[in-house]
Amino acid sequence: MAKFDAEARAGLSLIAPPFLYAALILAAPILTILAYSFLTDGYLEIIGDFTWANYAQVFTDPIVRTVMLRSLMVAAIVTLATVLTAFPIAYYVSFMVRPERKAMWLFLITIPFWTSYLIRVFLWKVILGYNGVVNSSLTGLGIIDEPLTFILYNVNAIVMTLAHAYAPFAILPIFVALEKIDRSLLEAGRDLGESRAMTFWRVTLPLAMPGVIAATLIVFIPTIGDYVTPEVIGGGKIPMIANLIQVQMLALDNRPLGSALAVTAMVIVALVSLLFLFLNRRFLKVRQ
């Protein structure tokens, strides 16, 4: 093995503390989960025998498949809804708001973070519920006779809640990408004969794509594993993958199966993200 020179030693000693830190708080739990997923479950204990049985169950159980597909679908819809609503907001703040007011706008956008996620989710329940703000207002005004049911304890309600919760995560990267666009490029687009709409399509949007991709991944990855919203908004009737893991880990005390579920979910998210990145590189030619 080659000997480390002084510079390499200095470099290694510099990265050692963060590396140790990362190993402890990131790698150690993941490795623990990974190890658990290959162990055998006994009654109220874990038997140290290696087995593939947990993964076999994960891949054959129809409930797991249904829940996993639902998680993917919900995360996809949430991501789409979040990015589509975040883009106009980011665009407005970047292009329409006066420079000296931008900081205030960003500050206002991040205000929901001041409240606990759990409380925000409960508030959505208050808004969307059977006797919630939306339904009682609409019935009170005589617009509807019966409370709306399509926003109650179902996927729609989950999507709405998550899309709101993750909006700032999507707005900020798109805003940054839009801010980086040289405004003379937009004038050049107009100068070369394109309308505002076509200039947006041919110049602004392609140049904002890095931000859109970042927003997509930032929203997609955490929403697929969201636990609180399906539990509270979905009333526990439409579990997503995180709820299933929780049930296995705690309620049923089957940690090996819960771990196998967690590892599988992680791998699927990683694959979907990689596929997404690859497709974007390939077809959108995002280079900056």
């Binding site: 003379s184 004038e187 107009r190 100068d191 070369l192 004969g193 394109e194 280079r287 900056q288």
Partner: protein
């Protein structure tokens, strides 16, 4: 006279309380290389952007090729622009950049590709089409910007300080190339620049602007030799100023006493306007219009003045001398150095600091600002 390509009539532009353009009246002829010259903040870029359609005008009319541009948006105007930052689309290749404006062109794909290649060849970038735009140098970016605009065959090409980001050698080379290109395509070029040398080199006519107004509109030679105001004279090239006192006036001439130069009689055409904040009348002359005489040298100029050399700046081809004219402080008690430039000729020595010397000159090279 050739037809007017661009006509601005009483154009005013306000940004809130700020009066950026103060009644611009201007005619730019078809096929000419026209420059808007002035210090930063004089409104030259605003005027250019007004012509391009990026700025609304608060008052007045802009006509391009006889058509009122009041309701015509930037993308429908027969103008194209080379931006100061070049505005090359970073997500596209060189060829895609050049072809950007051809989307609605009815020609076939192959014809468009040929047109792109032709445009790239014209600006000296043959074979660069497949390159990614951000792999280009400053000069190459500018060429792409030129090709991208010229491929659309606009009636007017607008250039917003296109050379300011280039180094000196590159800038001089591009100046010559732009002149040649303009002659070749015959399109009206409107250049915005703060560099008076660049404007003199490139333009058929120049509008000098200060504080939102056109101070003088003339050809380069007239602008240099007969500046309309002292401010224009000061902005273009180097001009020496000496205080003067008016002794007498007749219908066609003014006789003045000039500090250090004595009495001169100047005809009407050598008289221009002073600046509002000038103390009194001034005489101006260019450094190259006077000749520094060596010991015992003779000359054919009508006038001669004694002086002392204060400073010598040697430039290789030229030498600049800062001189104190005898009696230069006679009028207001202030010593005023004047700068004289001499072309260095083989066999003629550069004179030294402190030397007593003589200047030969002619009243014909003086301008009175009053």
């Amino acid at each position: 006279m050739t037809e007017a390509m661009i006509a601005c009539k009483g154009v005013h532009k306000y940004y809130g309380d700020y009066h950026a353009l103060r009644g611009i009246d201007l005619t730019i002829r078809a096929g000419e290389f026209f420059s808007l010259l002035g210090p930063s903040g004089c409104g030259k870029t605003t005027l250019l952007r007004t012509i391009a359609g990026f700025e609304d005008i608060s008052q007045g009319v802009v006509l391009i090729d006889g058509r009122d541009m009041g309701d015509v948006p930037a993308n429908k105007r027969p103008t194209n622009m080379v931006f100061q930052s070049y505005a090359i689309f970073p997500h596209l290749t060189v060829a895609q950049n050049v072809a950007f404006g051809l989307r609605r062109d009815p020609r076939s794909k192959a014809d468009k590709a040929a047109a792109v290649e032709e445009a790239l060849t014209m600006v000296g970038l043959k074979g660069y089409g497949a390159r990614s735009a951000h792999a280009l140098s400053g000069g190459q970016r500018q060429r792409v910007a030129l090709a991208r605009a010229l491929i659309l065959k606009p009636k007017v090409l607008l250039l917003d300080e296109p050379l300011s980001a280039l180094d000196r050698k590159m800038r001089e080379q591009m100046q010559v190339e732009l002149i040649k290109l303009q002659r070749q395509v015959g399109i009206t070029f409107v250049l915005v620049t703060h560099d008076q040398e660049e404007a003199l080199v490139m333009s058929d006519r120049i509008a000098v602007m200060f504080e939102g107004e056109i101070a003088q509109l003339d050809g380069p030679e007239a602008l240099y030799a007969r500046p309309a105001t002292r401010r224009v004279a000061d902005f273009i090239g180097v001009m020496n100023f000496l205080p003067a006192r008016i002794l007498s006036e007749s219908a066609s001439t003014v006789t003045v006493e000039v500090a250090g130069l004595g009495q001169v009689e100047l005809p009407e055409r050598q008289i221009s306007r002073a600046d509002p904040d000038d103390d009194g009348p001034m005489i101006g002359f260019r450094p190259e219009t006077m000749t520094l005489l060596g010991p015992g040298a003779t000359h054919s100029q009508p006038r001669e003045t004694d002086a002392t050399i204060d400073e010598v700046v040697y430039y290789g081809d030229m030498t600049y001398y800062d001189l104190r004219l005898d009696g230069a402080e006679a009028l207001d008690g202030k010593a005023r150095p004047v700068r004289i430039s001499m072309r260095n000729v083989f066999g003629r020595d550069v004179q030294e600091v402190g030397t007593r010397t003589r200047l030969a000159w002619s009243p014909g090279s003086l301008v009175l600002f009053r």
